[in-house]
Symmetry: C2
Subunit: 304 residues, 2 copies
């Protein structure tokens, strides 16, 4: 018997694979989405989420906003290679990285690969080489937590024997500290402006999306840290690079997360796998942390 | 009346827009393609070139190989910006660039943009930055005639929030001198090998195609040069960057080409245009060069 009740939650549609957006159950709980919005999401066949839930008996009846949690913990695989590389069993997750997305386009001039001398070209791919080197260097400048990813490059017309007229790339910048992520944003815009003046190619840089960093509750983080120590496990502090239900839950309740290793850091992949011993250690930490806060004074006054 | 007869030829299907490959008429004439092969080419509707020619009355009856030209000249727009930039009326074309095509692939490891630390990534896009800088530098090393074009980049899976697992690009190298083009080939392979050892990303480099450089006939080039001087025109020597019927014709007859400027270097574009005065000057040079060789001793002994 604990001082405060324990509740186990499996949030609806965390992944968003069938119904976009992801984390829709926790998002409704935290006020990010309305219930009507969530129920009206459709899958690729046109089936609505509300109808799909009704057909399997999972539309609940409790009104929104009645559950006030004194603390929330989420156990998850890391979805990355850090714990494995560091030979640690548990990640004490202190927050979630902020994300900024951009779609810079470099506008040059389409030209024949043969007749056009190099010095008369305005080649967006060659110009991009100068800029992208500086973009990747943001990861070094703001190491170790900064992440810089260029996932897609689209040269148009994309023909072998033609100097492209334009190149659009995607830039994904991440950092757990909002101030540093803002500094990376300023730096990226300086790099783009420099490209504009130095390369003969026009650089257009638009902001696509900003997801602010999340800092988890110190009380919950401490509860996890204490549980790890009680269990004698090898652990390390870390920041989640991916989104999770806890991002939304943390807006309305003190929250933190516990990570366990996954093989080769793989996730969203048929080769994703974990060891039973790691799952067991993670569940132990979750249990000890939850019991500790459920028996603390703070837990007796939810919403305080 | 000239010592040798003059003939004006309009080669079938130079462009290859409806029936691929391009330059099929001159290719059959020079022995590159068989007549059956040419006639059996189909357009996107399945119509065969032979039937299309028959339907408009353009299937000839002369057997192949009976025409022996003592000299051949081709007048063409430059399809590039060089004459315009140099304010010259005539290009004395001394040959056609050789071309080497490659499809290098950089094989890294697909990873999440968030959870994967920079130092644990094997990122083919970041690796490509190092290599492509060196590839473009081949144009400087073998300036002014070398051309280096990267027309297409394909990052897989090409998703904004994923470090790509692979990047395939196209490389188009050109030079009018076969030895230098071979040196560029050797250099490119060294760059790829260096990438293999230095980046943690495997670089696969395959040869896709080689079109050797063409050197036009000194006799024909001299005839053009003399005509230009007689007419008092501003001219410059140049090498064609694009393929032309003269590439095939030059295999069986002394050949050269004459270029005139085109606006902004544009070709294969609705904005392609030339000035009547330039067309007239080009035709004058063609006439004078053809008359000169038709009245020379060499022209009286075709095939010599």
């Amino acid at each position: 018997m604990t001082d405060a009740p324990l509740e186990i939650v499996s949030w609806t549609n965390e992944e968003g694979a069938r119904f976009a957006p992801a984390m829709i159950g926790s998002g409704v709980f935290a006020g990010e989405f309305s219930l009507d919005y969530a129920y009206s999401r459709q899958d690729s066949e046109g089936v609505r989420l509300g109808d799909a839930l009704r057909s399997i008996g999972y539309v609940g009846e409790s009104p929104l906003g009645r559950r006030l949690y004194a603390a929330a913990f989420e156990l998850h695989i890391e979805q990355g290679p850090i714990l494995e590389a560091a030979a640690k069993s548990i990640g004490i997750v202190t927050g979630v990285q902020g994300i900024r997305w951009y779609d810079p386009t470099l506008l040059g001039s389409e030209a024949h690969a043969g007749p056009t001398p190099m010095e008369l070209r305005r080649d967006p791919v060659r110009a991009a080489l100068l800029l992208l080197g500086s973009v990747y260097q943001l990861a070094d400048k703001y190491a170790p937590h900064a992440r810089v990813t260029i996932g897609s490059l689209d040269a148009r017309p994309g023909v072998r024997n033609t100097v492209p007229g334009s190149l659009t790339i995607t830039v994904d910048l991440r950092h757990p500290d909002a101030n540093i992520l803002s500094a990376m944003d300023v730096d990226l815009k300086s790099i783009a402006a420099l490209g504009n003046t130095a390369t003969g190619v026009a650089v257009e840089l638009h902001d696509v999306w900003y997801s602010p960093p999340v800092e988890f509750s110190p009380t919950c983080i401490d509860a996890v840290r204490t549980a790890v120590a009680q269990l004698g496990l090898d652990a390390m502090d870390m920041v989640s690079g991916a989104g999770h239900d806890s991002v939304y839950v943390s807006r309305v309740a003190p929250t933190s997360m516990i990570f366990i290793p996954c093989k080769d850091g793989l996730s969203h992949n048929e080769r994703e796998s974990i060891e039973p011993a790691d799952a067991s250690r993670g569940a132990d930490v979750l249990l000890h942390a939850a019991l500790a806060v459920a028996n603390s004074t703070a837990a007796a006054a939810p919403g305080s």
